[in-house]
Protein backbone atom coordinates (compact mmCIF):
# COMPACT_ATOMS: atom_id res chain seq x y z
CA UNK A 1 0.00 0.00 0.00
CA UNK A 2 3.01 2.31 -0.19
CA UNK A 3 2.50 3.53 -3.70
CA UNK A 4 0.09 6.29 -4.55
CA UNK A 5 -1.90 3.97 -6.76
CA UNK A 6 -2.35 1.61 -3.90
CA UNK A 7 -3.65 4.41 -1.69
CA UNK A 8 -6.16 5.47 -4.28
CA UNK A 9 -7.22 1.88 -4.75
CA UNK A 10 -7.82 1.36 -1.06
CA UNK A 11 -9.69 4.68 -0.85
CA UNK A 12 -11.92 3.56 -3.69
CA UNK A 13 -12.37 0.19 -2.04
CA UNK A 14 -13.58 1.83 1.15
CA UNK A 15 -15.86 4.24 -0.67
CA UNK A 16 -17.27 1.44 -2.76
CA UNK A 17 -18.13 -0.50 0.37
CA UNK A 18 -19.83 2.47 1.94
CA UNK A 19 -22.01 3.24 -1.08
CA UNK A 20 -25.62 2.10 -1.01
CA UNK A 21 -27.36 0.65 -4.01
CA UNK A 22 -29.46 3.68 -4.84
CA UNK A 23 -32.56 3.72 -7.00
CA UNK A 24 -33.86 7.19 -7.57
CA UNK A 25 -34.97 9.98 -9.82
CA UNK A 26 -32.20 11.39 -11.96
CA UNK A 27 -32.49 15.17 -11.46
CA UNK A 28 -31.34 15.91 -15.02
CA UNK A 29 -33.57 13.56 -16.96
CA UNK A 30 -36.34 12.94 -14.41
CA UNK A 31 -36.06 9.23 -15.02
CA UNK A 32 -36.10 6.70 -12.15
CA UNK A 33 -32.97 4.59 -12.41
CA UNK A 34 -30.10 3.01 -10.49
CA UNK A 35 -27.28 5.36 -9.62
CA UNK A 36 -23.97 4.27 -11.15
CA UNK A 37 -21.73 6.33 -8.89
CA UNK A 38 -21.70 7.95 -5.51
CA UNK A 39 -21.99 11.37 -7.13
CA UNK A 40 -25.03 10.31 -9.12
CA UNK A 41 -26.62 8.92 -5.99
CA UNK A 42 -25.97 12.15 -4.19
CA UNK A 43 -27.54 14.19 -6.95
CA UNK A 44 -30.76 12.23 -6.66
CA UNK A 45 -31.30 13.88 -3.28
CA UNK A 46 -34.36 12.89 -1.30
CA UNK A 47 -36.19 11.17 -4.13
CA UNK A 48 -34.29 7.92 -3.92
CA UNK A 49 -34.36 4.53 -2.28
CA UNK A 50 -31.50 2.50 -0.91
CA UNK A 51 -32.54 -0.86 -2.31
CA UNK A 52 -29.92 -2.77 -0.31
CA UNK A 53 -30.96 -1.29 3.04
CA UNK A 54 -34.64 -1.85 2.36
CA UNK A 55 -34.14 -5.29 0.88
CA UNK A 56 -31.87 -6.69 3.57
CA UNK A 57 -33.92 -5.28 6.42
CA UNK A 58 -37.11 -6.57 4.83
CA UNK A 59 -35.68 -10.05 4.39
CA UNK A 60 -34.38 -10.11 7.96
CA UNK A 61 -37.61 -8.77 9.44
CA UNK A 62 -39.63 -11.30 7.46
CA UNK A 63 -37.35 -14.11 8.62
CA UNK A 64 -37.89 -13.05 12.20
CA UNK A 65 -41.64 -12.79 11.84
CA UNK A 66 -41.98 -16.10 9.99
CA UNK A 67 -39.90 -17.97 12.54
CA UNK A 68 -41.75 -16.53 15.50
CA UNK A 69 -45.12 -16.91 13.78
CA UNK A 70 -44.50 -20.59 13.12
CA UNK A 71 -43.47 -21.15 16.72
CA UNK A 72 -46.47 -19.13 17.90
CA UNK A 73 -48.85 -21.33 15.91
CA UNK A 74 -47.29 -24.50 17.27
CA UNK A 75 -47.05 -23.34 20.87
CA UNK A 76 -47.95 -25.93 23.46
CA UNK A 77 -48.44 -25.34 27.14
CA UNK A 78 -46.84 -28.74 27.75
CA UNK A 79 -43.14 -29.33 27.82
CA UNK A 80 -41.61 -27.02 25.23
CA UNK A 81 -38.98 -28.39 22.87
CA UNK A 82 -36.24 -27.06 20.64
CA UNK A 83 -36.97 -23.77 18.99
CA UNK A 84 -39.91 -23.09 21.26
CA UNK A 85 -37.53 -22.95 24.21
CA UNK A 86 -35.40 -20.43 22.38
CA UNK A 87 -38.35 -18.24 21.42
CA UNK A 88 -39.81 -18.45 24.91
CA UNK A 89 -36.56 -17.39 26.52
CA UNK A 90 -36.45 -14.33 24.26
CA UNK A 91 -40.08 -13.48 24.95
CA UNK A 92 -39.49 -13.86 28.67
CA UNK A 93 -36.42 -11.64 28.49
CA UNK A 94 -38.37 -8.92 26.66
CA UNK A 95 -41.35 -9.29 28.95
CA UNK A 96 -39.16 -8.91 32.02
CA UNK A 97 -37.62 -5.75 30.63
CA UNK A 98 -40.98 -4.28 29.76
CA UNK A 99 -42.41 -5.13 33.19
CA UNK A 100 -39.36 -3.59 34.83
CA UNK A 101 -39.39 -0.27 33.01
CA UNK A 102 -42.90 0.26 31.70
CA UNK A 103 -45.59 1.10 34.23
CA UNK A 104 -48.49 1.97 31.96
CA UNK A 105 -50.99 -0.37 30.38
CA UNK A 106 -50.44 -0.81 26.68
CA UNK A 107 -50.42 -4.19 24.92
CA UNK A 108 -48.37 -2.67 22.11
CA UNK A 109 -45.21 -1.92 24.04
CA UNK A 110 -43.97 -5.47 24.55
CA UNK A 111 -44.41 -6.56 20.90
CA UNK A 112 -42.83 -3.27 19.86
CA UNK A 113 -39.84 -3.98 22.08
CA UNK A 114 -39.60 -7.53 20.73
CA UNK A 115 -39.71 -6.40 17.11
CA UNK A 116 -37.18 -3.66 17.79
CA UNK A 117 -34.76 -5.93 19.58
CA UNK A 118 -34.80 -8.90 17.21
CA UNK A 119 -34.86 -6.83 14.06
CA UNK A 120 -31.90 -4.71 15.15
CA UNK A 121 -29.98 -7.77 16.32
CA UNK A 122 -30.48 -9.38 12.93
CA UNK A 123 -29.55 -6.23 11.01
CA UNK A 124 -26.47 -5.71 13.17
CA UNK A 125 -25.48 -9.33 12.77
CA UNK A 126 -25.05 -8.75 9.04
CA UNK A 127 -21.91 -6.95 10.15
CA UNK A 128 -20.36 -10.28 11.06
CA UNK A 129 -20.65 -11.60 7.51
CA UNK A 130 -17.20 -11.04 5.99
CA UNK A 131 -17.35 -7.65 4.28
CA UNK A 132 -16.60 -8.85 0.76
CA UNK A 133 -18.78 -11.91 0.44
CA UNK A 134 -22.15 -10.43 -0.31
CA UNK A 135 -20.91 -7.46 -2.40
CA UNK A 136 -18.83 -9.91 -4.45
CA UNK A 137 -21.80 -12.21 -5.01
CA UNK A 138 -23.86 -9.18 -5.96
CA UNK A 139 -21.24 -8.01 -8.42
CA UNK A 140 -21.40 -11.42 -10.09
CA UNK A 141 -25.12 -10.76 -10.54
CA UNK A 142 -24.34 -7.35 -12.01
CA UNK A 143 -25.22 -5.29 -8.96
CA UNK A 144 -22.65 -2.53 -8.63
CA UNK A 145 -23.09 -1.53 -5.01
CA UNK A 146 -24.24 -3.41 -1.96
CA UNK A 147 -24.05 -2.29 1.62
CA UNK A 148 -25.25 -5.27 3.58
CA UNK A 149 -25.67 -3.83 7.08
CA UNK A 150 -28.89 -1.80 7.18
CA UNK A 151 -28.04 -0.21 10.51
CA UNK A 152 -24.96 1.42 9.00
CA UNK A 153 -27.38 3.42 6.87
CA UNK A 154 -28.73 6.40 8.84
CA UNK A 155 -31.95 6.10 6.85
CA UNK A 156 -32.68 2.81 8.57
CA UNK A 157 -31.94 3.98 12.06
CA UNK A 158 -33.75 7.29 11.57
CA UNK A 159 -36.68 5.49 10.04
CA UNK A 160 -37.05 3.44 13.20
CA UNK A 161 -36.43 6.31 15.60
CA UNK A 162 -38.94 8.52 13.80
CA UNK A 163 -41.45 5.73 14.23
CA UNK A 164 -40.70 5.79 17.94
CA UNK A 165 -40.94 9.60 17.94
CA UNK A 166 -44.41 9.45 16.40
CA UNK A 167 -45.46 6.93 19.03
CA UNK A 168 -44.06 9.13 21.83
CA UNK A 169 -46.07 12.12 20.63
CA UNK A 170 -49.20 10.02 19.96
CA UNK A 171 -49.23 8.43 23.39
CA UNK A 172 -48.24 11.66 25.16
CA UNK A 173 -51.28 13.36 23.70
CA UNK A 174 -53.51 10.33 24.20
CA UNK A 175 -52.54 9.79 27.84
CA UNK A 176 -52.04 13.38 29.02
CA UNK A 177 -54.36 15.18 26.62
CA UNK A 178 -53.15 17.84 24.20
CA UNK A 179 -53.23 20.40 27.00
CA UNK A 180 -51.31 18.21 29.38
CA UNK A 181 -48.65 17.51 26.80
CA UNK A 182 -48.36 21.20 25.87
CA UNK A 183 -48.22 22.11 29.55
CA UNK A 184 -45.40 19.67 30.00
CA UNK A 185 -43.51 21.34 27.20
CA UNK A 186 -44.26 24.91 28.28
CA UNK A 187 -44.39 25.00 32.10
CA UNK A 188 -41.60 22.60 33.02
CA UNK A 189 -39.18 22.74 34.65
CA UNK A 190 -39.29 26.44 35.66
CA UNK A 191 -42.93 27.52 35.73
CA UNK A 192 -44.82 30.11 33.66
CA UNK A 193 -42.34 32.97 33.93
CA UNK A 194 -39.68 31.10 32.01
CA UNK A 195 -41.96 29.85 29.25
CA UNK A 196 -39.66 30.35 26.24
CA UNK A 197 -36.76 28.82 28.07
CA UNK A 198 -38.90 25.90 29.14
CA UNK A 199 -40.09 25.33 25.60
CA UNK A 200 -36.54 25.38 24.34
CA UNK A 201 -35.34 22.98 27.02
CA UNK A 202 -38.21 20.51 26.69
CA UNK A 203 -38.17 20.83 22.92
CA UNK A 204 -34.52 19.88 22.78
CA UNK A 205 -35.25 17.10 25.23
CA UNK A 206 -38.02 15.78 23.01
CA UNK A 207 -36.12 16.05 19.73
CA UNK A 208 -32.98 14.56 21.28
CA UNK A 209 -34.78 11.27 21.90
CA UNK A 210 -35.16 10.09 18.30
CA UNK A 211 -31.94 11.75 17.17
CA UNK A 212 -29.84 10.13 19.87
CA UNK A 213 -31.55 6.76 19.32
CA UNK A 214 -30.79 6.82 15.61
CA UNK A 215 -27.30 8.28 15.79
CA UNK A 216 -26.13 5.99 18.59
CA UNK A 217 -27.05 2.86 16.70
CA UNK A 218 -25.85 4.19 13.37
CA UNK A 219 -22.57 5.46 14.80
CA UNK A 220 -21.70 2.24 16.55
CA UNK A 221 -22.48 0.03 13.60
CA UNK A 222 -20.88 2.35 11.07
CA UNK A 223 -17.66 2.48 13.06
CA UNK A 224 -17.66 -1.29 13.46
CA UNK A 225 -18.24 -1.81 9.75
CA UNK A 226 -15.53 0.71 8.96
CA UNK A 227 -13.00 -1.21 11.02
CA UNK A 228 -13.95 -4.46 9.29
CA UNK A 229 -13.40 -2.76 5.94
CA UNK A 230 -10.01 -1.43 7.06
CA UNK A 231 -9.01 -4.89 8.27
CA UNK A 232 -10.05 -6.25 4.88
CA UNK A 233 -7.38 -4.03 3.28
CA UNK A 234 -4.65 -6.09 4.95
CA UNK A 235 -3.05 -9.04 3.15
CA UNK A 236 -5.46 -11.98 3.34
CA UNK A 237 -3.15 -14.22 5.40
CA UNK A 238 -2.97 -11.79 8.33
CA UNK A 239 -6.57 -10.52 8.33
CA UNK A 240 -7.82 -13.17 10.74
CA UNK A 241 -5.49 -11.90 13.49
CA UNK A 242 -7.47 -8.66 13.67
CA UNK A 243 -10.85 -9.54 12.23
CA UNK A 244 -11.41 -12.48 14.58
CA UNK A 245 -10.89 -10.50 17.83
CA UNK A 246 -12.89 -7.61 16.41
CA UNK A 247 -15.71 -9.92 15.33
CA UNK A 248 -15.84 -11.48 18.76
CA UNK A 249 -15.92 -8.06 20.35
CA UNK A 250 -18.49 -6.98 17.80
CA UNK A 251 -20.90 -9.72 18.88
CA UNK A 252 -21.11 -7.82 22.13
CA UNK A 253 -21.79 -4.54 20.34
CA UNK A 254 -24.42 -6.16 18.11
CA UNK A 255 -26.40 -7.34 21.11
CA UNK A 256 -25.65 -4.35 23.30
CA UNK A 257 -26.78 -1.76 20.76
CA UNK A 258 -29.99 -3.67 20.09
CA UNK A 259 -30.59 -3.97 23.81
CA UNK A 260 -29.94 -0.26 24.42
CA UNK A 261 -32.27 0.69 21.59
CA UNK A 262 -35.00 -1.56 22.95
CA UNK A 263 -34.56 -0.38 26.54
CA UNK A 264 -34.74 3.25 25.50
CA UNK A 265 -37.86 2.57 23.45
CA UNK A 266 -39.48 1.07 26.54
CA UNK A 267 -38.35 3.97 28.73
CA UNK A 268 -39.59 6.57 26.25
CA UNK A 269 -42.92 4.79 26.02
CA UNK A 270 -43.10 4.79 29.78
CA UNK A 271 -42.40 8.52 29.91
CA UNK A 272 -45.08 9.14 27.31
CA UNK A 273 -47.58 7.22 29.46
CA UNK A 274 -46.73 8.95 32.73
CA UNK A 275 -49.43 11.39 33.70
CA UNK A 276 -47.53 13.25 36.40
CA UNK A 277 -44.24 14.80 35.72
Amino acid sequence: MASENGLIASGDYIKHHLQNLTYGQNPDTGVWELAHSAAEAKEMGFMAFHLDTLGVSFILGTLFLLLFYRVGQKMTADTPTGIQNFVESIIEFIDENVRGSFNGKNPMVAPLALTTFIWIVLMNTMDLVPVDWLPYLASLLGIEYLKVVPTTDPNATFGMSIGIFILIIYYSIKEKGAGGFAGELLFHPFGKMMLPFNLFLEGVNLIAKPVSLALRLFGNMYAGEMIFILIALLPFWIQWSLSLPWAIFHILIVLLQAFIFMTLVIVYMDMAHQKEH
Partner: protein, 156 residues
Amino acid sequence: MNINLTMIGQLIMFAMFTWFCMKFIWPPIVAAMDERKKRIESGLIAAERGLSEHKEAQQKAQEMLNQSKDQAAEIIANAGRQASTMVEDAKDVASQEAGRIKTHAQAEIEQEANRARNELKDQVSDLVMQGVNSVLAKEVDAKVHKDMLGKLSQTL
Protein backbone atom coordinates in the same frame (compact mmCIF):
# COMPACT_ATOMS: atom_id res chain seq x y z
CA MET B 1 -25.12 8.23 3.41
CA ASN B 2 -27.77 10.46 1.91
CA ILE B 3 -31.03 10.87 3.74
CA ASN B 4 -33.81 9.97 1.34
CA LEU B 5 -37.05 8.05 0.90
CA THR B 6 -35.37 4.97 2.37
CA MET B 7 -36.13 6.50 5.75
CA ILE B 8 -39.86 6.54 5.02
CA GLY B 9 -39.70 3.02 3.67
CA GLN B 10 -37.96 1.81 6.77
CA LEU B 11 -40.52 3.58 8.95
CA ILE B 12 -43.40 1.90 7.15
CA MET B 13 -41.66 -1.47 7.34
CA PHE B 14 -41.05 -1.00 11.05
CA ALA B 15 -44.71 -0.16 11.62
CA MET B 16 -45.86 -3.19 9.64
CA PHE B 17 -43.53 -5.58 11.42
CA THR B 18 -44.57 -4.25 14.82
CA TRP B 19 -48.23 -4.54 13.93
CA PHE B 20 -47.80 -8.10 12.73
CA CYS B 21 -45.86 -9.00 15.83
CA MET B 22 -48.50 -7.47 18.09
CA LYS B 23 -51.35 -9.14 16.23
CA PHE B 24 -50.11 -12.64 15.42
CA ILE B 25 -46.95 -13.43 17.35
CA TRP B 26 -47.01 -12.02 20.85
CA PRO B 27 -50.53 -13.11 21.96
CA PRO B 28 -50.38 -16.87 21.23
CA ILE B 29 -46.88 -17.28 22.67
CA VAL B 30 -47.66 -15.36 25.84
CA ALA B 31 -51.02 -17.12 26.19
CA ALA B 32 -49.37 -20.54 26.04
CA MET B 33 -46.72 -19.50 28.51
CA ASP B 34 -49.33 -18.12 30.89
CA GLU B 35 -51.34 -21.30 30.63
CA ARG B 36 -48.30 -23.37 31.46
CA LYS B 37 -47.59 -21.13 34.42
CA LYS B 38 -51.13 -21.68 35.67
CA ARG B 39 -50.88 -25.43 35.17
CA ILE B 40 -47.64 -25.65 37.09
CA GLU B 41 -49.08 -23.51 39.85
CA SER B 42 -52.20 -25.65 40.22
CA GLY B 43 -50.07 -28.78 40.01
CA LEU B 44 -47.91 -27.59 42.87
CA ILE B 45 -50.96 -26.70 44.92
CA ALA B 46 -52.48 -30.13 44.25
CA ALA B 47 -49.24 -31.84 45.21
CA GLU B 48 -49.11 -29.93 48.45
CA ARG B 49 -52.71 -30.74 49.21
CA GLY B 50 -52.07 -34.41 48.43
CA LEU B 51 -49.14 -34.40 50.78
CA SER B 52 -51.12 -32.89 53.64
CA GLU B 53 -54.01 -35.24 52.93
CA HIS B 54 -51.66 -38.17 53.03
CA LYS B 55 -50.29 -37.02 56.36
CA GLU B 56 -53.80 -36.57 57.70
CA ALA B 57 -54.84 -40.01 56.52
CA GLN B 58 -51.79 -41.53 58.14
CA GLN B 59 -52.66 -39.79 61.37
CA LYS B 60 -56.22 -40.99 61.16
CA ALA B 61 -55.09 -44.54 60.46
CA GLN B 62 -52.78 -44.44 63.46
CA GLU B 63 -55.62 -43.15 65.59
CA MET B 64 -57.93 -45.88 64.39
CA LEU B 65 -55.27 -48.48 65.01
CA ASN B 66 -54.77 -47.23 68.56
CA GLN B 67 -58.49 -47.16 69.15
CA SER B 68 -58.98 -50.70 67.94
CA LYS B 69 -56.08 -51.88 70.03
CA ASP B 70 -57.70 -50.33 73.09
CA GLN B 71 -61.00 -51.89 72.16
CA ALA B 72 -59.43 -55.30 71.71
CA ALA B 73 -57.74 -55.05 75.08
CA GLU B 74 -61.03 -54.08 76.66
CA ILE B 75 -62.83 -56.93 75.00
CA ILE B 76 -60.21 -59.40 76.18
CA ALA B 77 -60.42 -58.07 79.73
CA ASN B 78 -64.20 -58.26 79.67
CA ALA B 79 -64.10 -61.79 78.36
CA GLY B 80 -61.69 -62.83 81.11
CA ARG B 81 -63.89 -61.30 83.74
CA GLN B 82 -66.97 -62.90 82.32
CA ALA B 83 -65.32 -66.30 82.14
CA SER B 84 -64.24 -66.16 85.76
CA THR B 85 -67.72 -65.11 86.89
CA MET B 86 -69.21 -67.91 84.84
CA VAL B 87 -66.88 -70.42 86.49
CA GLU B 88 -67.81 -69.01 89.91
CA ASP B 89 -71.49 -69.28 89.09
CA ALA B 90 -71.09 -72.81 87.84
CA LYS B 91 -69.28 -73.74 91.04
CA ASP B 92 -72.06 -72.26 93.13
CA VAL B 93 -74.74 -74.03 91.16
CA ALA B 94 -72.87 -77.29 91.35
CA SER B 95 -72.35 -77.13 95.08
CA GLN B 96 -75.99 -76.18 95.61
CA GLU B 97 -77.05 -79.06 93.46
CA ALA B 98 -74.75 -81.37 95.34
CA GLY B 99 -76.22 -80.19 98.65
CA ARG B 100 -79.73 -80.66 97.39
CA ILE B 101 -78.99 -84.16 96.10
CA LYS B 102 -77.35 -85.04 99.39
CA THR B 103 -80.28 -83.90 101.51
CA HIS B 104 -82.67 -85.69 99.20
CA ALA B 105 -80.67 -88.89 99.50
CA GLN B 106 -80.50 -88.54 103.28
CA ALA B 107 -84.25 -88.06 103.44
CA GLU B 108 -84.82 -91.09 101.30
CA ILE B 109 -82.45 -93.18 103.36
CA GLU B 110 -84.21 -92.09 106.52
CA GLN B 111 -87.58 -92.92 105.02
CA GLU B 112 -86.35 -96.31 103.89
CA ALA B 113 -84.87 -97.01 107.31
CA ASN B 114 -88.15 -96.06 108.99
CA ARG B 115 -90.09 -98.25 106.67
CA ALA B 116 -87.71 -101.17 107.28
CA ARG B 117 -87.89 -100.64 111.01
CA ASN B 118 -91.71 -100.64 110.96
CA GLU B 119 -91.78 -103.75 108.85
CA LEU B 120 -89.32 -105.40 111.13
CA LYS B 121 -91.42 -104.36 114.14
CA ASP B 122 -94.50 -105.90 112.57
CA GLN B 123 -92.68 -109.09 111.69
CA VAL B 124 -91.14 -109.31 115.17
CA SER B 125 -94.54 -108.81 116.75
CA ASP B 126 -96.02 -111.44 114.40
CA LEU B 127 -93.20 -113.80 115.21
CA VAL B 128 -93.59 -113.19 118.90
CA MET B 129 -97.29 -113.73 118.52
CA GLN B 130 -96.80 -117.02 116.76
CA GLY B 131 -94.29 -118.16 119.35
CA VAL B 132 -96.43 -117.13 122.26
CA ASN B 133 -99.44 -118.66 120.50
CA SER B 134 -97.78 -121.96 120.09
CA VAL B 135 -96.41 -121.90 123.70
CA LEU B 136 -99.53 -120.77 125.36
CA ALA B 137 -102.12 -122.45 123.08
CA LYS B 138 -103.10 -124.95 125.61
CA GLU B 139 -103.04 -123.10 128.79
CA VAL B 140 -104.09 -119.63 128.18
CA ASP B 141 -107.22 -118.24 126.81
CA ALA B 142 -106.11 -116.98 123.48
CA LYS B 143 -108.55 -114.20 123.34
CA VAL B 144 -107.46 -112.60 126.60
CA HIS B 145 -103.87 -112.73 125.76
CA LYS B 146 -104.35 -111.38 122.29
CA ASP B 147 -105.91 -108.25 123.70
CA MET B 148 -103.16 -107.91 126.17
CA LEU B 149 -100.46 -108.30 123.50
CA GLY B 150 -102.25 -105.92 121.21
CA LYS B 151 -102.09 -103.33 123.95
CA LEU B 152 -98.41 -104.08 124.40
CA SER B 153 -97.59 -103.70 120.73
CA GLN B 154 -99.32 -100.36 120.66
CA THR B 155 -97.12 -99.01 123.38
CA LEU B 156 -94.01 -100.15 121.51
